[in-house]
């Protein structure tokens, strides 16, 4: 099982404070990060994913009771976020194959097909991502986040552009992923936040 430890975390962009003094020790299966626009939900997820260094403080993951070293996080984390996009020139399947190969995974074709099937993108998996609608692109991004079976799944506004069947797929995916690891969702959607066992409200951390 996985947990997250955040201590005295603060971040600034060009001297403008995004959030400060966030402390959290969470060992459950699904955490919702909520707060108004600009409160730093996406920034926090980028810090947790290792894509951004915080101005001060520390954020780390604990997997099976041990600190997860940063170099091992690459294979442990899956992230779907609006500012992390797939290659528009490649098909969804080619994107997944590239990511799986780069991560050193085996059974690349099987994993890619399985991930596309889980997000309901089997029929359009060979179309170029640039030619997909925004909803199908979001499904492809979710497939890329789960294709390598990460222990930690970070989802930033995951329901953006999804239709009703997409929402059902997303909720099913979150339920199945939380059974085997940790899911952290940054959201303003009350239905998504309700899936979590605990909520971190960044509106109160400013």
């Amino acid at each position: 099982m996985a947990g997250v430890r955040i201590s005295n975390l603060a971040h600034e962009f060009d001297g403008r404070e995004v959030f400060r003094s966030i402390d959290l020790a969470y060992d459950g299966s699904c955490l919702a990060v909520t707060g108004p626009n600009g409160s730093g939900k996406s920034t926090l997820l980028r810090i947790l994913a290792g894509l951004l260094t915080p101005t001060s403080g520390e954020a780390r993951f604990v997997v099976d009771g041990q600190d997860a070293p940063r170099e091992r996080l690459r294979g442990m984390i899956g992230l779907a976020a609006p500012d992390v996009r797939l290659y528009a020139e490649l098909s969804a399947r080619e994107n997944l194959r590239f990511l799986l190969r780069a991560r050193g995974c085996g059974e690349i074709d099987e994993r890619a097909s399985s991930a596309l099937e889980r997000v309901g993108l089997c029929d359009r998996g060979d179309d170029r991502v640039g030619e997909l609608s925004s909803g199908l692109r979001q499904r492809a991004a979710l497939a890329a986040a789960i294709a390598h079976d990460p222990v930690i799944l970070l989802l930033d506004e995951p329901s953006s552009n999804l239709d009703e069947s997409g929402m059902r797929m997303l909720h099913g995916m979150i339920e199945s992923r939380r059974a085997s690891g940790l899911v952290i969702i940054a959201t303003n959607d009350p239905d998504e936040a309700a899936l979590a066992s605990e909520r971190l409200d960044l509106g109160s951390a400013r």
């Binding site: 980028r46 994913a49 290792g50 894509l51 260094t53 170099e71 690459r74 984390i77 992230l79 976020a81 500012d83 992390v84 996009r85 797939l86 290659y87 528009a88 020139e89 490649l90 080619e94 590239f98 990511l99 190969r101 780069a102 991560r103 050193g104 170029r128 890329a144």
Partner: protein, 220 residues
């Protein structure tokens, strides 16, 4: 570093490039037009080996500037850099991008160098050494340009900054490549071998330093 990750980046970049043709068309167009322009000048002043080798490398250098700087900037502009950082170790990204840039430059040279030789009526005394200098010089330009492209990829005015950052890094390689190509054109085996050795050392130093520093450039 994961070699598998580097190969994955190279294959991905090649596949994206074959479909979008962004870098290759920019570099090729520049290289062909400047080769034709240079051939008019050489036609007037005569094809002296020193002048021909200098002009050939000026064409290759500016072609590299026109296309290789895009390798990381494009990832940032299309919001795919985060995906790359999440999935591939930094050193593998550098090696994959370096290999892709080298192949791009080599592909451009396959078209422009014969065109240059043909249009300028330039005599190549030692063909093997000439091709060796082109390959080593291109590897050296690619090594330096790849590191410089990563450094400037998140800056606001990438184009100007890329030229400014890369020139001091690439100037020694450019000087050696010109001298070595001059030796190959004028049939001076000793000078050519010495310049080839220097380019191998240059590549070794730049690639080693880039591998050591690239994580700081790419991830921070």
């Amino acid at each position: 570093m994961s070699l598998r990750g580097a190969v994955a980046v190279l294959v991905k970049d090649a596949r994206c490039e074959l479909r979008s043709k962004q870098a290759i068309s920019a570099v090729l167009l520049f290289a062909v037009t400047s080769t034709i322009a240079v051939s008019f000048t050489l036609g007037m002043i005569g094809s002296d080996a020193a002048v021909a080798s200098t002009l050939l490398w000026v064409v290759i250098y500016f072609s590299a500037m026109a296309g290789l700087g895009r390798s990381f900037a494009h990832e940032e502009e299309t919001y795919t850099a985060g995906l790359l950082r999440l999935a591939v170790p930094a050193e593998s990204v550098y090696v994959g991008k370096l290999a892709f840039n080298f192949l791009t430059l080599a592909a451009v040279e396959v078209v422009t160098v014969p065109l240059f030789v043909l249009l300028t009526d330039c005599r190549v005394a030692r063909v093997g050494a000439f091709i060796g200098m082109l390959l080593l010089g291109s590897a050296a330009l690619s090594a330096g340009a790849t590191a410089a492209a990563a450094m400037v990829s998140r800056a606001a005015s990438k184009g100007a900054l890329f030229a400014g950052v890369s020139f001091p890094l690439l100037a020694p390689a450019l000087g050696i490549a010109i001298a070595g190509t001059n030796a190959a054109l004028a049939s001076s085996p000793a000078g050519c071998a010495a310049d080839m050795r220097l380019l191998v050392y240059y590549c070794g130093v730049v690639i080693t330093a880039s591998l050591m520093l690239f994580r700081c450039i790419w991830e921070e």
